[in-house]
Symmetry: D2
Subunit: 419 residues, 4 copies
């Protein structure tokens, strides 16, 4: 590839990813950009600005000669958690920032985009090589925030009694296929990322793991199945729950997955297209790790380890119900017949693996080392992406992670077991 083609490809990918973010927030009113309805989520405006700051801070300020910040205070306002860069605005106070206005944030975005394109276009080959991987991190980072935009908008809307609608309702209406368990041999296998394609530092290096033979469900658990657990007193019997899980049930008063509401004996579910009747054949969604784990124990099974999941997913093409489908909801639809359905897309699948470093892994140098490594405690690994994940963002080795009590992501359950 010539240097010009290379640059064109970079610029074009940059613009495409950045544009998609703007498309995601296109249905919002100005007012919607400001809301932070809980401490986990962030205001849409903040996502728009923070992803921009990421390019400014890690690329423009490092590599663009004489780059002038549009507003030096943005470094404080839009740094998320990079302690080694400097102090930052407290996360739970992001929702008190009316200013910069939405318009000013778009001006900031445009300013940084123009500078980024200039930088790419004016770089020589060695300079391009230097920024290429940072640029890719920036874009992957932006894609993560695309997913967070969807989940945070959903949470914000759910907290408003007017139940605003983000997108028109699109549904599938397939029956669910029976649950079956596929058997895997185990043995001395490898997981983790290798090769030159992009991956995060936490996916590397590829390394050996020993697995006992195991079975994995052909599809995620459905609402219908989860209701059986509920009807059997699932939320009332401590014997199904981890100790911390049972404490969460009591602390938060959980009686169903997030976004469910019973009205006149019928279960309703809040979605990005408003509240609708619960569809029984859709994958159960917005459950915490604790609920996933309790369900599995009730079902006489267990959650897969992340190594089991990855071994099963290896070689599968990462196709599925991703954000580009614009369902913004897991689907009952099942594509062609195959042995493992919905490994990618629809719902993130909780694994039984605590998020921890791979053997001999090395975090990135400098502040970007904080990106993934410092969260390796008290979080559980999720795999496979969801209906809010960009399709080009996911892969079999991808490790997502959240605290075990979180429910506002599109998180579901796939059962596993011993042979």
């Amino acid at each position: 590839m010539t240097i010009t083609l290379k640059k064109d490809a970079l610029v074009s990918r940059y613009k495409e990813v950045r544009l998609f973010t703007e498309q995601i927030v296109q249905p919002l009113e100005v007012e919607d950009y400001i809301i932070q309805a809980n401490a986990d989520s962030s205001p849409p405006k903040w996502h728009i600005a923070h992803t921009t700051w990421f390019f400014e801070r890690f690329i423009l300020k490092e590599f663009k000669k004489d780059y002038q910040e549009l507003n030096p205070q943005f470094d404080y306002l839009f740094n998320s958690y990079y302690e080694t860069i400097g102090p930052f605005h407290p996360r739970h106070h992001r929702g008190v920032l009316a200013r910069p206005s939405v318009e000013e944030v778009y001006t900031y975005r445009k300013y940084v985009d123009e500078n980024m394109v200039q930088l790419m276009e004016n770089s020589n080959e060695s300079e391009i090589d230097e920024i290429k991987s940072l640029l890719e991190i920036g874009l992957q980072h932006e894609q993560q925030h695309q997913e967070l935009l969807i989940t945070d908008i959903k949470y914000n809307f759910s907290q408003n009694p007017l139940f605003p609608v983000y997108a028109p309702l699109k549904t599938s209406n397939n029956d669910q296929i029976p649950i079956l368990f596929k058997e895997f041999q185990g043995g001395l296998l490898e997981i983790g990322h290798s090769g030159d394609d992009f991956s995060f530092d936490n996916e590397r290096p590829r390394h050996k793991v020993w697995l006992e033979p195991f079975i994995l469900a052909n599809r995620p658990v459905t609402n219908r199945e989860f209701l059986l657990f509920m009807e059997d007193g699932g939320y009332k019997k401590p014997e199904f729950w981890l100790s911390d899980g049972w404490a969460a049930v009591k602390k938060f008063g959980w009686q169903s997955p997030l976004y469910w509401r019973k009205e006149n004996e019928e279960w309703m579910q809040f979605t990005l297209s408003g509240e609708k009747l619960l569809h029984l054949d859709e994958p159960v969604c917005h459950v915490s790790f604790y609920e996933a784990d309790a369900y599995a124990r009730w079902a006489g099974k267990r959650l897969p380890t992340e190594a089991e999941w990855e071994v099963a997913a290896e070689g599968l093409i990462p196709q599925g119900n991703f954000v580009e489908n614009q369902y913004f909801h897991p689907l009952s639809s099942l594509e062609e017949q195959k042995s493992l359905f919905k490994m990618f897309g629809d719902v993130w699948e909780w694994t039984s693996s605590a998020y921890s470093p791979y053997p001999r892994s090395k975090p990135l140098e400098g502040a970007l080392g904080e990106y993934n490594a410092k969260f390796m405690c008290n979080q559980m690994v999720l795999r496979g992406g969801s209906c809010a994940t960009p399709s080009t963002h996911i892969r079999a080795t991808y490790r997502n992670f959240f605290q075990p009590e979180k429910r506002w992501q599109f998180t579901g359950i796939r059962l596993a077991g011993n042979v």
Copy 2:
């Protein structure tokens, strides 16, 4: 006055008060309307809607035949605290409501205004008499929210590191006159409201009180004076403080009044016109009752009781630095020579009186009885209005009340003592 003139006067006063609210929020961006930076304050949008709801709920729905609500859910969203009317959106969650949008709230406002004008215009004399006092309560209520809009916008802006500016800076620059104490005889006196002019139920009935002779300062305490207290270790010596006050100093880490910040050995003060150098001759402002009480003890004086304050204010014309002046800040300026300065306007003056019912007082009937009476516990009375109070809203008998630790209102100190 003919019925037509009477109606015209009502309609014209209604429109005038309602318009003034809109003038107050005129400098805001859409984004600013959404913010609730702490649990005491409310988003400007909420004030705009709640004052409207007040007329809808207590007048239109009671008196206008076939009145249709624009949106029945607004009854839940914009009821502030009237328990007897029904459930309401939790106060501390007002800041999660992006919708109804600002535009929709103005549509609601316009809709109610049109209905109100129609109601007034189509009422006969006896109907007018019926709604007149409710209307006046609604307008007085709106004026209270005009003040809250100023104080809440100020708090919201102060929490944004960009320090947005609400209004251009206007200052006075007078030196302060010396503090003097005027002597009052006391005896068997009367306080409280009588007559037909509007007053809240908590100001009535006029009743006898016995007062010992007392002295009252000719003006509020200044920043210069308060700094002496601070330099003498005022915030570090428990002997000046009430027990709960000292606990508040430690809990909140108070080291100065709210909105003060030390930069390079100079005290800065956040105002609605941005941060500026502290003006030493302005009345000290944004102090809690605890700070006012501690200052007075340090100064060898005490705060006045509300009866003492009212006796001293009786007969004075309620003139001063009110919101119409558009300073939005207490002033150093002192008008013509007189014995008591700034009894009205500039800063609310903490009294030593707990907010409690007057002898033989009667709360209004029905839900409006909740307006004032149910707060008669754990709050202290303030008198005289502030630079954020509408000039037509205040009078000598007016009783404002807040919890003793609150500081976001324009609250200051006037000293009193025994003879």
Copy 3:
């Protein structure tokens, strides 16, 4: 009185009061001395030591030449809240102190007692005069802690599922007389303490108050009457409650007075003699100010102000069911026929008066000024003493005070109203 007789009287009174404290804790096991079941109450051991420290700190260390503290660390451990004396062990951590052991605390008590007696016996007339009033404060202080010992032991025992018994059950079984309201004229009257008898600084000076005519109930509200309020949805209807009171109902989940428990449709009440069936003709007890106020509003009456109460009590002999009776519980029994029953003893009566300084009152000099004055905010006045109050400790002018949500004291309700 000769100096010798004077000294003898002092010593004898000192010994008597001190001995009575020890009699109160006599039924306790060593283990019981250590418990602090909530932050309001203190471990019995702490009371035993703190009352001792009071004499050591304010008398022995000031007046006894060459006095040596038994253990200098006790000054830190047993100072309750005197900020001007120095730092002290945090109140809510009193329950983590196994040491000094109970035996060591009694040794401390004995050591201080011996020194006190020596001091009194070796003082000349002018010295005696100097310490006399401090001594009386110390003894009155000790009597307050005698009451607190009873209430704290009750609370501690109530938190133990084994329901320990402090004293054998003694009951009265009288029917209640009908409720009647006695009328008072009001006018320009006087309240507050005058004369040479002991009184706390907060009871002084005697001063004029203007009272409108009022009525006062002849006896406290009974359990039978309070049950009517409950059966009428008293704890479920916000219209009866102050705003802070309703918040307390929801926060604490109040559904009845403290220590009530429903078992098989019968109300049980925990007492210092174990749990027993609720006696309907006893005064209702262990209600907060909020409950008292809500009950009064429900009953179409109000609570008396402290001035009304005092005017009504003036001239009555302070007789009643006090701690020496060893009921440790309010009684249904009513003595001879009279116009006002149980003004003293049985239950403290909540007034509608916030605890605040009397006109021209002066707190004691020095650290003892903290005794009463610094609590004059956010507390309500109670009058009349209870079944846990020493009989020689109470008088018509006595002002007790607690926060409006507290319920672990023996607190009840007497209704008042306007004429």
Copy 4:
């Protein structure tokens, strides 16, 4: 072994373990038995009773015909966390229980012991076989509480400004040997317990793991070494810390390990023999996982995984500084020359492994399944035992676990690294 010998051995081991618990609490005053100075620790009295309850509940009530509980309420009071058995007294309220008295608890203990001995003596061979493993669990459980007694007494004493002394000071005074790293090959190895000796369900089954080559320090990190980290700003630089760890530093205000206090430029350390000068050559102790992890990162190393630790420990004789030594403190002393010192005893060593189930592991049936399995979330594995661990309780496969912020156990650091 004949059945008689078998029974004698059982009875004798039972008595020995039970007696040792009583020896541990022998230095306590009655008062000390009651204290629960934080929610993690329990009052000594509770440990004494709970370990007794364990035998009563899981053995006597199941296997002893016509067994009568001494007090049926003890089932509620002394159940720790077995949800499937029934409701239990809340953990953080264990410190409000004065009753049953210490003496009554010993009576309970004696009653259960007598019944247990009767049961063992009257059982036939098949009955013995039936209870044998439960008995062993009960004794191992008791040993765990022996360690907790030591750590909880230490914490309780540390919170008392009088610094009570539990045991006379015994010290060693050896210099520390240089730190060296021993290399291990890794490969496909096995960890976990096999064979008939006692092990907990969480140690089984023995299973394959793949390990990369690694290095392990020959001894734990010393106070001297940890001070270097502190002097280098260890507690002030976020770059060394996990995100949750840094949050803990700020939340708890950590500036040193627990029990350290600086006085006049010298570090003091609270021990069970009172406060003493920090011994620089002793293993650093009472650090959280977060501190261990941060130290390792600062040192350019990492913590070992639990598999690495176990592989290194396999074959070593579990000798060391255990509770029987009566130092109650980690020692500077190093026994004979060897390649790995102090793998057992002195301090528990934090591993980088989250506590999670072994492949194909099976929790015990019934309520005892709650013993270990339900804690497999948000906790980290520790290995090797401490100076508070009974010597017969520990083994190479033993998995201890605590939340990463806990510091009141005797927890230290051993470094590992990659080859």
